[in-house]
């Protein structure tokens, strides 16, 4: 869209104002073309969800025709089936329990450590940080297969405890990296001032730094929550029935490969996509801060 800007030779105009006006006009046109292109991209990007929504609300005889049926009477039977006829509700509750526990444990363990990494001048901090990066890159199966054996041996296979432990461990390097970035932004003078006023190091951390770290902790929390909610591989390996989470449930339903369950599957997708997209749009500030923080400081 900047073709026009590029090819017009820039004449030395005696009066700059028309040139400036011309440039602004071109910028506006460029902006409008960019917006149009983005709307097309956005539609393509959202089309899988729109199609799942259509599949969920079509009557059964219209849902799987080829070519697709476009005129139909929308109904919510699939959502009712999903809620009443499957374990969806129970699995959803369990997934939230697992995700929230993971966030709480990850932040309780990760925040003090990240603070120390950000403040300690020695060489240990950088070494651990590099280790954290390395650990973040390890294939999860390399951690989870031994976990599988251990949890069988300890009799905690297919429990939330085993799942939360694995999720906290696997994500701890990333949680640390993210939090260290935020703690570095809090000026050291604040800790020092608090300690001069009589706080212990831990008191300074708890009373002064943690309250200031609100956005950073929320960012790390939102991230860990999303990751725990999304995790498929770890949950697939460590659960079977009782501790199953949403991604495992969905994949198992899909694996049944039975057309009569496809609409409930579509309904389940939509029931999950809508709240997650809302969270993404509203918590966008935190997501951007987190991804950006990880990008710049990682």
């Amino acid at each position: 869209m900047s073709t026009a800007t590029r090819t017009v030779p820039r004449r030395p105009a005696p009066d700059l104002r028309p040139a400036a006006r011309e440039r602004r006009r071109k910028e506006r046109i460029g902006g409008a073309l960019a917006a149009a292109a983005l709307i097309v991209i956005l539609l393509i990007s959202l089309s899988p969800f729109l199609w799942a929504l259509l599949t969920a609300i079509k009557p059964f005889q219209d849902a799987f025709t080829n070519p697709p049926t476009w005129i139909f009477e929308p109904r919510l039977d699939a959502f009712v089936d999903l809620w009443r006829g499957t374990r969806f509700a129970a699995v959803l509750v369990n997934t939230f329990v697992v995700a929230v526990l993971t966030v709480v444990v990850a932040l309780a363990v990760g925040a003090p450590a990240a603070y120390a990494f950000a403040r300690y001048a020695g060489v240990v901090g950088p070494i651990l940080l590099v280790l954290a990066v390395v650990l973040r890159t390890i294939p999860r199966f390399a951690v989870v297969l031994p976990f599988y054996e251990m949890s069988q041996a300890l009799g905690i296979y297919d429990t939330n405890i085993a799942l939360v432990a694995a999720l906290v461990a696997v994500n701890m390097p990333f949680t640390l990296l993210l939090l260290v970035g935020f703690f570095r932004d809090v000026p050291t003078e604040l800790d020092e001032a608090a300690m001069i006023d009589g706080c212990s190091r831990f008191g300074a951390f708890r009373r002064v730094i943690v309250p200031l770290m609100g956005p950073g902790l929320v960012t790390a929390g939102v991230f860990t929550l999303l990751v725990a909610f999304q995790e498929y591989l770890v949950a697939l390996t460590l659960t079977q029935n009782r501790a199953v989470t949403i991604p495992v449930f969905i994949a198992a339903q899909k694996g049944a490969d039975d057309v009569s369950t496809y609409q409930t599957l579509a309904a389940a997708s939509i029931a999950l996509v809508i709240p997650i997209v809302f969270i993404a749009v509203f918590a966008r500030k935190y997501l951007v801060a987190g991804l950006g923080g990880g990008a710049v400081k990682g």
């Binding site: 983005l38 089309s47 025709t65 080829n66 001048a121 994949a251 997209v277």
Partner: protein, 287 residues
């Protein structure tokens, strides 16, 4: 901060990572030299597992597919992500709303996203993409033929992961200094020249960051392959991690062989990571 305080603050995290990350990783390393049937202690068998996987044709196919997938997807993601970030940077009103909605395919659980994405290519679900292709008289068996299935897995990766690239590069574009760029424009530098000689060099650290993240993640691709092509081995879309799963928990229960594949994957990943680790080390030392 005193060493004692440092130790106290970091102890819980170090114990946790030691017990729940390092111990399992060491176990994986030990298992890779053992014959380990599930539920039984392993017996050392030297390099047998490595010899087996390196002489296994299937492993060769799996490794080649995974590396090819990683290179193609990473390159395509960077180009597409950069293009969309440039578009977003030109838009004033509604930029953040568009960005938020574009993130949808990134934040939705991969299992659900892959499922919904593959439905567009599935004739049972109306075959939307094939309907569009019918205009040019083409019909593609996306889910069962090797070439199309690989393309589909790659397209899914682009759909799912490009938003992350967009997010990072847009953040970079927004922090570019405006004055030198305007000066270059007034001096007659055209769009290409400004991209090539000013913007791309300034964004280089971010580009290398997203490249490395993409390489690491792509080498470990698993969720989408399980969902889109459950019979990955016969379709030709089996990745390293899908192979590990089959060997360890589905087709056979050979944790030793699976661990050897994990170790090989770790070695490949670390080799690709060296420049990034050096950068992190320098950053941490400088701070």
């Amino acid at each position: 901060m005193k060493p004692k305080e440092f130790a106290a603050f970091t102890a819980p995290a170090i114990v946790l990572m030691g017990g729940l990350l390092i111990v399992p990783l060491v176990t994986t390393l030990v298992w890779s030299f053992q014959n380990v049937p599930v539920g039984q202690p392993g017996v050392f068998n030297g390099l047998d597992n490595y010899v087996e996987i390196f002489s296994d044709e299937r492993f060769g196919r799996v490794a080649a597919f995974t590396v090819g997938y990683t290179l193609v997807v990473t390159a395509a993601k960077l180009v597409l992500g950069y293009a969309i970030a440039l578009l977003l940077a030109r838009v004033r009103r509604g930029r953040m709303v568009i960005l938020g909605l574009l993130m949808a395919s990134y934040v939705v659980p991969t299992v659900i996203g892959a499922l919904n994405f593959s439905w567009l290519f599935n004739d049972v679900f109306g075959g939307v993409v094939n309907q569009l292709l019918a205009v040019v008289g083409v019909h593609v068996d996306w889910l069962t033929e090797t070439g199309p299935a690989r393309t589909l897995i790659g397209l899914h990766a682009l759909w799912h992961e490009t938003p992350f690239v967009i997010l990072v590069l847009l953040a970079g574009l927004q922090t570019l200094p405006e004055e030198p760029l305007e000066a270059a424009q007034l001096d007659g530098a055209n769009w290409w020249q400004r991209q090539r000689f000013m913007i791309l060099p300034l964004l280089a650290p971010l580009i290398s960051f997203v490249t490395l993240i993409s390489i690491m993640d792509s080498l470990k691709v698993f969720d989408s392959i399980r969902i889109i092509t459950p019979a990955a081995s016969s379709v030709g879309t089996e990745s390293l991690m899908a192979f590990v799963y089959q060997v360890a928990l589905a087709e056979s229960y050979r944790l030793g062989v699976a661990s050897a594949v994990n170790v090989v994957t770790i070695v490949i990943t670390l080799l690709l990571l060296i420049p990034f680790l050096r950068q992190t080390w320098k950053g941490a030392r400088a701070a």
